[in-house]
Subunit: 348 residues, 4 copies
């Protein structure tokens, strides 16, 4: 079977590997769709995210859906042919964080496509059976693969505990920012304002449900939010771009007593925070780390039509086109939101 292998910075080749056989408690997944995440691109272009450094050769990709192709010993909950979303995280289940129900911060988690674990840009992969969640009727495999980024948005909004009548600003309208917007809307946010530097993304934000959106290259964001809120600021801000400027905006545009959340993966090791601004607001500033199974608890929302998830998938690529997909996402070209790699073509 074919595997897309990263052997150096921006160097990907398609290689043959033997078809894997599922061990006890495992299943083999025929990989149908894998989203190209910003973190994949970080590893592809920079070879690292913070202290997590790629060990070559490796395989990227961690937003998959597929079809059960074979089942290992002791697996009786999944049958061959079942269409599943694949949870990329296998937390240890024994550390204090897992015991407290915060599996997303387990320091011993095995996460697809994160050093030193191989990802899933490949035709077949064996996975623990408990990581494979059957898709509800009517959900496509591409939607199934989009559940993972959607989960990040749901997790961010869960942390933010958005209440009735609250107003929200989201800085960055890529897949994570848009997922966060859809989650905030689902949670009852009254108004949601978004920004991005790419015109297509600004348009997407409005189309998918933001109250309003502007291009931050053309509009002073702090002024705009002040104007939209009568000078008060919004109740909750989400940073979904990983930039100093947007981090500063999350602090500046949130109201006194508000909550700010940083989701974006930063491009540098340190950002500055405007301390007096934050202090006068008694600001709560929280980092957001991946997701904690939220989406698998509520994937029915997509089937119910309450989250227009499919619209996030703007481009599809075959497995040998992983480099092209990476470069496209890196360059933010052609209005890309989420690029999907389909190792077996369209299985939906």
């Amino acid at each position: 079977m074919k595997v897309s292998v990263l052997s150096a910075l921006r160097t990907v080749t398609l290689q043959d590997r033997p078809m894997p056989e599922p061990g006890p408690g495992q299943v083999r997944v025929k990989v149908a769709a894998v989203g190209v995440c910003g973190s994949d691109v970080h590893y592809y272009v920079d070879g690292k995210i913070g202290s997590a450094v790629v060990q070559y050769p490796t395989v990227l990709g961690h937003e998959p859906a597929g079809i059960i192709d074979a089942v290992g010993e002791g697996v009786n909950t999944l049958a061959v042919g079942t269409r599943v979303a694949v949870e990329p995280a296998s937390p240890c289940m024994h550390c204090e964080h897992c015991l407290a129900g915060r599996h997303n911060i387990c320091p011993s988690v095995e996460f697809l496509g994160t050093p030193p674990f191989d990802g899933i840009f490949m035709e077949y992969r064996c996975m623990p059976a408990h990581c494979c969640i059957p898709l509800p009727e009517g959900m496509s495999l591409i939607e199934g693969a989009l559940l993972e980024p959607m989960g990040v948005g749901l997790h961010a909004v869960t942390l933010a505990k958005i209440g009735f009548g609250e107003t929200v600003a989201i800085f960055g309208a890529g897949p994570i920012g848009l997922s966060t917007m859809m989650a905030a809307r689902l949670a009852g946010a009254k108004e949601i304002y978004m920004t991005d530097l790419i015109p297509e993304r600004v348009a997407y934000a409005k189309d998918l449900g933001a109250t309003d959106a502007v291009n931050a290259a053309e509009t002073d964001v702090t002024d705009w939010i002040a104007q939209k809120t009568g000078g008060r600021g919004v109740d909750v801000t989400f940073e979904a771009a990983g930039q100093q400027q947007t981090v500063t905006q999350t602090c500046e545009t949130v109201r006194i007593g508000g909550r700010a959340f940083i989701i974006g993966i930063p491009t540098v090791d340190e950002f500055t925070i405007p301390m007096h601004v934050c202090r006068r607001k008694e600001l709560l500033l929280q980092q957001v780390r991946r997701a904690n199974g939220e989406v698998f608890r509520c994937m029915e929302y997509v089937a119910q039509g309450r989250i227009p998830l499919k619209k996030l998938a703007t481009h599809t690529f075959s497995l040998d086109q992983v480099p092209q997909a990476m470069e496209l996402v890196h360059a933010h070209q052609d209005g890309v939101i989420r690029a999907m790699v389909l190792p077996h073509g369209d299985l939906d």
Copy 2:
């Protein structure tokens, strides 16, 4: 009556002003004791804190206790002779934050000794009656004046929601750091580690109840906390020094999934935050802003002997010695924790 007036940077003179008469709903307080806070020193030395800029002439001082000296029309809850602590904050009671019970972030608060409001380094001052809280039996006036900084510690620990078995680190062992430590201990923290750069403060920390304390000039703080906690870090960190180094330590020494609180007033406008470190921990980082009446709801703790508050007062000064008190606190000399100004000498 005498008033200690600040007319320029580090320029204080004692002036005569007419004895004030209490208006309706007001009382006149014979000022017995006023603590010298770090924020007083900021205004004295720098003329500003962030965007709050002194308008000369002004009067500093906002941690008072005294004796009711006269009562205005309509005041029937306080009698002449009653010993009271004075709440320095008069929130508006009508903004959304006051309505939500977060009076400490009221943007329209009138706060003693904060531009543009005069403080209380003076012999007599009229105050709204509702700001004057009778002291429990057995509490001294100096203890009454120390309730205000103690309230900041109680507020910080309230925000931190410290639970059973939790471990704490506090960076900075001045009056606020020590108050926070005593509050954390009262809330049931299992272990509390403290640091400071001044040997007397390190000794004070241990004496007042910290599990252990070190001099950060001599010990690598991050290593020390790692060693004390078996590499895990503490559950909650409090920054009580206003320095870049200690802000970094609050992020580095807190455990994965932990909570960090910044209480110290920063000396500069911006601090840097180690983003990847914080992101991997899904860190919650919250600023702490003054106090929200906590101490007046539980001043009996001091009378019960559960908070050794009096030990914070290390030095006393007369009203004409305000400059000496300011300079002493600014220089952190002579092992000073809290210097108290006693406008009428010792009334206890």
Copy 3:
């Protein structure tokens, strides 16, 4: 002007009273629409709710909207002609509960139509200006009057802190149960099950957005919920009927670790609780008391079309028909959900 006066059990007459003049800080409201609440009917039929006993003569009615007709001294935020919803509660703003932001449990609240305060089944009434909230553009006066019961539902769901993917059951599909359902849906509940004894209400529940609804006279409710949830029970239950049977159902149908909320005004002083059932679930059971301004913070939802509020108003009456309205609601006749009294006819 005309006033609908209750002078004994089930005895209402239309009387003339002088046109009231607004005092300082007050406005005079031309009353456009007043909903007939179940608590009005309790006072009308029983003369009391628990220890709150009617003192005759009195005026009922506390769910009003109207038009500003005159303004008193010092009122500069409202102009004659402004269409407003009227908040029926005037909390004291000084007790510990008001200070903590829980105005709905203020023991000194003055609440329209609750002993000993007159309500608003009348043509004109003077109100504190701060109780009158201008309606957003496009909202009808009848919708404005429906904001008050809607607020109860929003408050109940606020207390319940409904999260993503949660399932809900609501026992009772009258105006409060339906408001709670619409609020739970707005907050992102995944599935909402409802019951009632009246066929029209069951149909209404489905029509307004419940996932499913049954007639509790024909279906075993506990079995039904068990079947719908695969034996697990729902995450959150709301009791909105005030009956022993529905209280028992809130305990029996909620999942282990779930939360149950009692909104309905009970018909008797005591209900029994199945203790072992509740203990094994570590059940959280909370009473819900009126509302805490939620609806006035988010009345725009109605204007945005996210709450189909208007459908709750099924019947209209003139001011002289208050007795007929009361009897209709008491008898649950003719498919009534909310009956509206329009003292001046249709002003929309």
Copy 4:
């Protein structure tokens, strides 16, 4: 080895069983001390608690400490000779409640001495290694056995989220009520009031740290709390007796907006709740179910001397005296708080 077997209501005999051998992941514990819990007495006297019905023969006892006597395959964290407290609960770790960190409500938990699982009134018992927690230096085996009831108090106070300045009432001063009191005090409660019907327990309550305590047989409890709190009621109430009267008191003596917790195991299936009283207070009423590992996270408090745990153990019995211990506890005779069974005599 000897085992204390319950073969019918109030029928206990000492029997010989073969010495058990630890399987993989297990250890054999030489049982040093086992507390006699009220739930043991329920099973002994009534044969059931709610729907949990004893299947004879069985063994009771679930509050143990002991010494590691042998280790099974794969156990490398515990050595022979280690003194340990034994966690009586083995939750499934896979259900939604375990995944959410609420192991105490796991419906598949295996709990010592609860149908259908044998308890630990025996000389030796094999246990999963992860249930055995080494005692801190200086803690006696009897204290180790008392950690389990102490954990219930810590769990109750954890659920109650007691904050600074809060006042507490506890109805029932047996081991659980006293543990709750010590936990509430550790958490910073300002005042704690207790009641019981047994004079020795009232005295114990005062001795161990309650602010005040009265005999409910002689004092009107509701009046007493009203008087102690100026008519306001306390912030938090705990029921620790399992009686209708004390359940009613938790509702009546708690302040408006307060929180009430039911810990006691009820003697009947249903209790009545005063609905109008609770509704006007918007009362939060929560059941408390066992403990969630709190005590093992903070057993050092006992070693630090912050919880006077040892005083709870008032009587000791040998293994053949289990019936006498049960009857003593059932009759509340001789001032018993916690009776301890020591299968091997005093090993401390």
